[in-house]
Symmetry: C2
Subunit: 325 residues, 2 copies
């Protein structure tokens, strides 16, 4: 059994085609090839812990992922998010690797899923990208959108002026020109690709500001309590897509909209079916589309397996080098 | 973050009072101080994986345990059981230690729970100890009974003659004199402390062979399918005790007996309540008592926390030695 540190995992990610990796995972999930039990959850006084786990039938490995959020950590100089992934062999149960990614793989697979949703659902011409939130996920989402759209014009909303300024400076270095706003609905008014990334438990975006032809990817809400989109937005959308229909009935924006009687949940499509062209997704450039991403274990399985392959190849080339020398 | 190997963990266990550790865990569980969500489970082609996790309120740590059984492994020269425990801080979510115990801590806490059940439920005079099964758990159960009873006379049942002979030889070295039998019900006929340790899915012991004054600890059945005791045994018992009433309604002997309409489940006591003297347990030496142990995460939490303390103390004395030298 070997462990891999966060630094080594970051290096291993560089050479991987993560868009394809995550797309394949969603298709496998919607095909029923992935076995993904309900999320395990611990609610502690100062944080919450999610255990996501499962396997794809016929694969070599199964994966157990632990991810935590402890919101008082930043005051102690610690990251609020943390985690690791355990990769085991399906034939023997032997632990193959411990990926001590400190939550980075969860951050990345979440951001890549946002890019996948935009690739398959956003309108052809992106005029402006709207980002709600100024944290790490707000940065990663934009970073992974680079390959999906040529648009480099961003409007960002955040609670604090400082955070908005820091975000604008950071993404400028990535080649994006970003403006800030104090009114979250401005993002809906002026952007046709919007990504929401906050842990808000009250709607930040409202249907009154929504234009036709907009795509929204909601990644912030992953529990039964969190909500970033007013339920009327989902009611007005032509297409509502879940990463997992089963999970989104219990967590996230779709769960909230069903609870508010804004939608019945009957017409929700699944992302893997849209990717595989079994469901239509966006039909017209004027459609309003919403993707609700609550995070499915198959993303963890796919990214962990891909990283494992890269680490194994790396180890082998290291071994060969030693033999040659 | 530090890892501890199985060898180091075995050494750390030596100095611990595991009976008290596990007793405290059961009392905390029955008190409602332990937060223990339902077991996570993966069923693969060649094995099964259980994820048990939780925490005791007010403790320093929470624990996530992964344990697997892959029954074809022995043909490959690998142990069938495997596992590890992850210990995290409750205040920050930081991973404190990875205990790479390869399933040993699960084996030990299961065996100690058997000894705890016998201590609180078995009759005062043990004439003969009956063991059903000849595997690792059959050995560990007997080993941990050493402190509970002075009886060293054993009758063992196993499917294969070779396995029975090997078991008899092994426990002889521990100071037990063991006979073998080919009829599992012989164990019930001649022993008044019986421990069942097999993964059988059909009853091995039958009520027709049951004497008054017998205590049975059933540790083999931990899923909805497995069953070692004919349901009529639980119907005849004066006292039926579960390690977790909630869990035993879904798994193990009590689950099976309820499904067979042999008992209603209303009068089942919980082991932690018996330990704390809140429930009576055995009232008369002629009572028949059955303890159904399906394995509760609080046992994992308690043994992992105890091992962590021993490892920390060990590290500190190592540090002091280095400073002094």
């Amino acid at each position: 059994m070997r462990t891999a540190t966060a630094d080594r995992i970051r290096a291993a990610l560089d050479g991987l085609d993560l868009m394809t990796t995550i797309e394949e995972g969603f298709v496998e999930y919607s095909d029923g090839r992935a076995v993904v039990p309900p999320v395990g959850e611990l609610i502690l006084d100062r944080g919450e812990v999610h255990i996501k786990y499962g396997f794809v039938r016929g694969d070599e490995y199964y994966v157990i992922k632990v991810a935590s959020g402890f919101f008082g950590n930043s005051a102690r100089g610690l990251p609020s998010g943390n985690g690791l992934m355990l990769v085991f062999r399906q034939d023997t149960g032997v632990l193959e690797r411990i990926l001590l990614d400190e939550g980075h793989l969860t951050d990345v697979r979440t951001a890549v899923a946002g890019a996948v949703a935009a690739k398959h659902l956003a309108p052809v011409d992106i005029e402006r990208i709207g980002i709600v939130g100024t944290g790490l996920q707000a940065r990663l989402q934009l970073y992974h959108l680079e390959t999906v759209t040529a648009c480099r014009d961003v409007l960002v909303w955040g609670r604090g002026e400082q955070q908005v300024d820091r975000y604008r400076n950071d993404v400028r270095r990535q080649g994006f020109s970003a403006e800030g706003t104090k009114d979250a609905d401005d993002v809906l008014r002026s952007c046709n690709l919007v990504v929401t990334t906050t842990p808000s438990s009250r709607p930040l975006l409202h249907a009154s500001a929504l234009n036709s032809g907009t795509h929204i990817t909601a990644v912030g809400s992953d529990t039964a309590d969190k909500q970033e989109l007013e339920s009327a937005i989902l009611a007005r959308a032509n297409v509502v897509v879940a990463d997992s229909i089963e999970q989104c009935r219990k967590r996230g924006e779709i769960h909230r909209a069903i609870a508010d009687d804004a939608i019945t949940g009957e017409h929700v499509l699944e992302l893997g079916d849209v990717i595989a062209n079994r469901s239509a997704g966006r039909v017209s450039q004027s459609d309003i589309t919403v993707a609700d991403l609550t995070g499915v274990a198959v993303q963890d399985i796919r990214i962990a397996t891909a990283v494992l392959g890269a680490l194994d190849a790396d180890d082998q080339s290291e071994d060969r080098r030693c033999v040659t020398e």
